[in-house]
């Protein structure tokens, strides 16, 4: 109880908001309606019920998650007899919502034996690293009971992970803004009210553990550069980054930023260079070598070691964000750019992508994003002295953002070389950097002085609440109206 009292009240209030929203999203959306939720559940089921680590099926190769043998018979019975598969991504469908429907499913489910929980063949999701699924076995086993008891237990587990991510955003904001409760609250609230985050995080998916670990990594990176690279901090950071890599392949994008943070922390803590050969090497050299190594690593990964594709990667990257330069050819893959990823998919697409914000609202969000970026620039100028005093933390967070996004693009380009039809990169993938979004919102509002800032912050929080309610309302309408 004493520990609870030590938690700042504004943070407790924001966490309360996350809990309410998280449970509401988790229970309102019918089972298995999240992206690849069936496949993620079947991975946990294979671990928990069959006590088997699922690997790619040697006979069947990659199975699509929607292909029936990829999941257990128990899940297939739920697909059909609880009406979950006809509902998935199908706006013409509504859930089977009477207790008679439940009885019909229970009649069929009662015919199953324990073996029917373990016979799923697995899908391409089994290529994911296992950490999330291993941790999810705990709530799965605790819940026991029916298929639905276990599935919703996993969703509630994800809500708990989301609470941790929001608390870490608060801590990270504290390191950057110097424990200013106002800005910490704004950063945490912006994350807590992000509509797509709530939609994604309340399904069975490893993405929520990834974003929680990424939040922890960002926080530890700031500690390493701000308070010095003690072995505990460095070990903690490396452990968290390793855990992120073992949760989802996208966690690899945190490796280079973490090494940068450790390097910067060590360099800052080292003080004046010692006499000798190393002391005479200009400081810029090791950084330049490090940057070169990282860029070559990204290029090699993105091009599948075919450096002839480098021009294509550069063209793809440039045209993702900016109009083509003279002489540039069309980039590889389908037309998919910054607006799709950073706006439409990051703010306004829900469930199986069949629910989205109306175009008017997306246009308003777009204006707000540009206004926010302009305010961010004004704020940076206004607070340039404070920023300079915390330049290490700012540098680490910027590098983390740039390298993580670059890693996503490298992975996307690598995949596009094989399958140009799938753009791979989507707004959901940016959620691992969600604390930076919260910090960006708080920093933008800090452009305003005194009471104007309070007025603007109040208005912004009101707008974010409306955005959250709108997203939830649209999803409820899709399933129940």
């Amino acid at each position: 109880m004493r520990r609870l009292r030590r938690i700042p009240l504004p943070l407790l209030a924001v966490l309360g908001v996350v809990l309410v929203e998280g449970l509401a999203w988790a229970f309102a959306v019918p089972a298995l309606q999240g992206a690849d939720e069936s496949a993620h559940f079947s991975y946990v089921q294979k671990l928990a019920d069959a006590h088997v680590m699922p690997w790619r099926n040697p006979d069947l190769g990659y199975l699509e998650p929607a292909y029936p043998p990829s999941v257990s018979t128990e899940q297939r019975v739920a697909w059909t007899w609880a009406g979950l598969e006809p509902l998935r991504g199908n706006r013409a469908a509504r859930p089977l919502w009477t207790h008679e429907d439940e009885r019909i499913w229970a009649r069929e489910n009662a015919k199953l034996t324990p073996d029917h929980r373990t016979d799923g063949a697995g899908s391409r999701v089994v290529d994911n690293p296992p950490l999330y699924y291993l941790t999810a076995v705990v709530p799965y086993e605790i819940a026991g009971g029916t298929f639905f008891d276990r599935l919703y237990a996993l969703r509630v587990y994800n809500v708990a992970l989301l609470l941790v991510a929001v608390a870490l955003t608060w801590l990270l904001a504290g390191e950057l803004f110097g424990r200013r409760r106002e800005l910490q609250t704004l950063a945490a609230a912006a994350v807590a009210l992000h509509p797509v985050l709530l939609d994604v995080a309340t399904r069975v998916t490893p993405d929520v553990l990834l974003l929680t670990l990424a939040s922890a990594a960002l926080y530890l990176m700031t500690l390493v550069v701000k308070r010095g690279p003690s072995w505990r901090r460095v070990a903690g950071l490396l452990a968290v980054v390793a855990a992120a890599c073992l949760t989802q392949g996208r966690g690899l994008g945190l490796v280079a930023p973490a090494l940068f943070a450790v390097g910067l922390g060590w360099w800052r803590a080292r003080g004046a260079p010692r006499p000798g050969v190393l002391g005479r090497v200009p400081a810029v050299v090791p950084w330049a070598v490090g940057a070169l190594v990282v860029l070559v690593a990204f290029a090699a990964y993105a091009t599948r070691f075919d450096f002839g594709e480098l021009a294509g990667f550069w063209s793809y990257l440039w045209q993702f964000y900016l109009p083509p330069l003279p002489g540039m050819t069309d980039p590889i893959g389908v037309s998919w750019d910054v607006e799709n990823v950073y706006l439409n998919r990051f703010f306004g697409t829900f469930v199986q992508f069949e629910v989205d914000f109306p175009p008017d609202l997306l246009r308003a969000i777009r204006v707000a994003v540009f206004a926010g970026l302009a305010l961010l620039a004004v704020s940076a100028w206004r607070h340039r002295r404070a920023l300079w005093a915390r330049r290490d933390v700012v540098a680490v967070l910027l590098v983390a953002f740039v390298l993580s996004v670059l890693a996503l693009h490298a992975a996307a380009f690598r995949s596009l070389l094989v399958n140009p039809a799938d753009p791979v990169i989507t707004g959901r993938y940016l959620l691992m950097l969600i604390p930076l979004y919260g910090i960006g919102v708080a920093a933008a509002v800090a452009a305003f002085p005194g009471r104007v800032r309070a007025l603007a912050s109040g208005g912004l929080l009101g707008a974010l609440v409306l955005l959250q309610l709108s997203a939830f309302g649209l999803v409820v309408e899709r399933f129940y109206a």
């Binding site: 700042p8 009240l9 504004p10 209030a13 924001v14 309360g16 908001v17 309410v20 929203e21 509401a24 229970f27 309102a28 929607a66 059909t80 007899w81 609880a82 006809p86 199908n90 013409a92 469908a93 509504r94 859930p95 089977l96 919502w97 009477t98 207790h99 008679e100 429907d101 439940e102 009885r103 019909i104 639905f148 008891d149 919703y152 200013r180 409760r181 106002e182 910490q184 609250t185 704004l186 609230a189 002085p449 005194g450 009471r451 104007v452 309070a454 007025l455 603007a456 109040g458 208005g459 929080l461 009101g462 707008a463 609440v465 409306l466 959250q468 709108s470 309302g473 129940y480 109206a481």
Partner: protein, 243 residues
């Protein structure tokens, strides 16, 4: 500062509720009572319906609000003959007649008396004449558990079939019913009571808690050291507001 924050949030929330939320939840929408077999996701398919060979499907639940049903016909050889739809099960037995003359792709609809409660029924659709027609059906992942059977043979396709309420409703008119429906296929602890509490907290508690958190944070930060004011210098209204 705190008053300014509350004022900013209140203005946006009130305007938002009046201009966005209220019209959205008050809009009248067509209301399905239950959709046992939805339309396909990819592609079109049909099951044949000809005189003497009824199309039947079971494990359909007629919801207590169902006062109409609807399915879609494919008529490549001319308008439909008269159709009869029998809905039977759990003490409910009703046959509706659909007059001839439906064109290709049109919905066949008829009124039915609402069941006293939700009941599992069997639906049989009969053709009373020529020509051969088709009933739109799902053969993809939208295929439901209620697959169509003709002369004892399972077609492995589910006829697009829905029960509807007779008039349109607003979301606000259906909050209680929606919450009831959200308890189905959920763990036992997801009760109506829990969902009502969550709904109330979401709609009313979240805005209050977020604004309270921010106001409380302003209070915890305390008054920031401001430069001493020069009382001899005239300050504009804007400056006085900002400071």
């Amino acid at each position: 500062m705190r008053r300014a924050a509350i004022a900013g949030a209140t203005v946006v929330l009130v305007l938002g509720f009046l201009l966005v939320v209220r019209p959205f939840v008050a809009e009248q929408r067509p209301t399905p009572a239950s959709i046992p077999s939805p339309a396909s996701v990819t592609g079109l398919d049909t099951v044949p319906l000809q005189k003497g060979h009824p199309v039947c499907f079971t494990d359909v639940v007629a919801e207590a609000h169902a006062e109409r049903f609807s399915f879609r016909v494919s008529t490549p050889f001319g308008p439909t003959p008269e159709l009869r739809v029998t809905i039977r099960g759990g003490g409910y037995d009703y046959t509706a007649t659909i007059p001839p003359g439906l064109q290709d792709g049109q919905a066949a609809e008829a009124a039915i008396p609402a069941p006293l409660r939700d009941i599992p029924v069997e639906v049989c659709i009969r053709s009373r004449g020529e020509p051969l027609i088709g009933l739109y059906a799902a053969n993809d992942r939208a295929r439901s558990r209620s697959t169509a059977v003709i002369d004892g043979e399972d077609t492995n396709k589910s006829v697009w079939f829905s029960f509807e309420e007779p008039r349109w409703h607003a979301i606000t008119e259906r909050v209680g019913l929606t919450i009831d429906r959200m308890t189905v296929f959920r763990p036992g602890y997801v009760t109506r009571g829990l969902l009502w509490v969550l709904a109330a907290l979401f709609v009313f508690g979240v805005p209050v808690a977020i604004v309270w958190a921010y106001v409380r944070a302003l209070r915890e930060d305390g008054p920031r050291a401001a430069p001493p004011l020069d009382v001899n210098r005239r300050r504009s209204r804007w400056r006085r507001f900002v400071d």
